[in-house]
Symmetry: C2
Subunit: 249 residues, 2 copies
């Protein structure tokens, strides 16, 4: 089997780094990439700073099969993503005639220079729009970079619009089992299970729940049968500690 494609998410926005806004797109993208068989390798949150955006984009687009950016494609002065993407690719910025036409029909005499900024894309015959019913202002694709809005409902809809374009590897499957056990009591047994099943990534996630300690074990692999064997072995390990293993939600 050929290697699965890889991806990086670039979250652009002072509002995340200032602590004002809870980031709300990464988990959605991550879960969808797993289903699509694309390996999400990294996410970076960067500020609304042109040099940082250009530099980071040029770094990550060379490292990964796909880059998804969110944020900074609106009409206001702090929306600088398109200017930065164009600069990163050495392109100029142009207004897309079809988007201008739609905006003219939609906004009428409320169409202004600020809104026309949302019709801007980097120049080039290879740049394609990412359209969604959630907004008149599109995202776009340039080479392996997909530029999306930051508002979660729009970002998620745009992700679904671009998803069919992605090459896919084997989907990353997962299963889990949890119990009211402390991780330190099953850690040595888990290590043995991990060594026996190297094709499965076994993660251990402790938490405090009503009633005390809880540990959730997650098994991730492209091999459903191996996941099943790992979870059975983990459940046996938990039972040996006197616990009743359950599938966590």
């Amino acid at each position: 089997m050929s290697e699965a494609p890889t991806a990086c998410v670039l979250i652009i926005g002072d509002e995340i780094l200032s602590g004002r806004t809870q980031e709300a797109n990464l988990k959605y993208f991550a879960a969808r990439f797993a289903e699509l068989g694309v390996r999400l390798k990294e996410a970076r949150v960067i500020p609304d700073d042109a040099d940082v955006i250009v530099g980071t984009l040029n770094t990550v687009r060379a490292l990964y099969s796909y880059v998804i950016t969110t944020g900074g494609i609106g009409p206001t002065h702090d929306d600088i993503t398109t200017a930065c993407v164009a600069r990163a690719f050495g392109r100029s910025v142009v207004r897309h005639p079809g988007v201008v036409e739609k905006m003219t029909a939609y906004f009428g005499d409320r169409l202004n220079e600020a809104r026309l900024k949302m019709a801007e894309i980097p120049d080039g015959p290879d740049v394609s729009l990412i359209e969604s019913e959630t907004t008149i202002a599109p995202g776009y694709r340039i080479e392996n970079v997909y530029v999306l809005a930051g508002i979660p409902s729009i970002a998620h809809a745009m992700f679904e619009a671009l998803a069919p374009q992605l090459e896919r590897g084997a989907p990353m499957l997962w299963g889990n089992v949890g119990a009211a056990v402390r991780e330190g009591d099953i850690a040595e047994g888990l290590t043995a299970i991990q060594e026996k099943f190297p094709s499965v990534a076994i993660g251990s996630y402790p938490s405090m729940r009503a009633g005390g300690f809880h540990t959730s074990i997650v098994a991730r692999s492209t091999d459903a049968e191996a996941i099943g064997k790992v979870l059975a072995a983990v459940a046996a390990l938990m039972r040996a500690q006197g616990c009743d293993p359950v599938r966590d939600t």
Copy 2:
């Protein structure tokens, strides 16, 4: 005034990149850094992959005044952060005698090799513990890197334990005003306000609320008076659109 110190948050964990877990520390750290006058410049989410952790840590610790890592310091096989931090600094890993003593008292005959892993820190007289009442297993500081647990309640407590050690710049203050207006209708006025007040970073955040479009304008600066002037100008801009500006929550 000297430049404010900078920071990067390194979120280590497959559980975030697989889409299983909502990241839940960054917003807390970001808000606290702003209050402390430390400029959070970047956050990266990376997988439980030793080469990636070592490489990323060595990159970001050279770029920023402070690096905070979360995740990967528990007792299980997938907790590899300490081994990676030690490798990044060219140090060996040692067990901290004081932590071993506390664990011995606490765990009694349930103390095992897995749990003793949580007493491990990189070697060196400059490495100091970050202790918290939320856990017996400490985080630690090595040079400008602070290594914290991933569980939010523990990570936040450890952050408060290390916060007094940080050098501080002027706190980043902020204020905001919002209204039931579309950002495209105030974008040109906002640009003029931004140009008039270059010491204030003005961010525009649109959303859909019950009743329709909403735009929240956030003004961030170390200068409280300038923030007040910006918000007054923005409120006037919103009123000119027939809207009733309010402070958003």
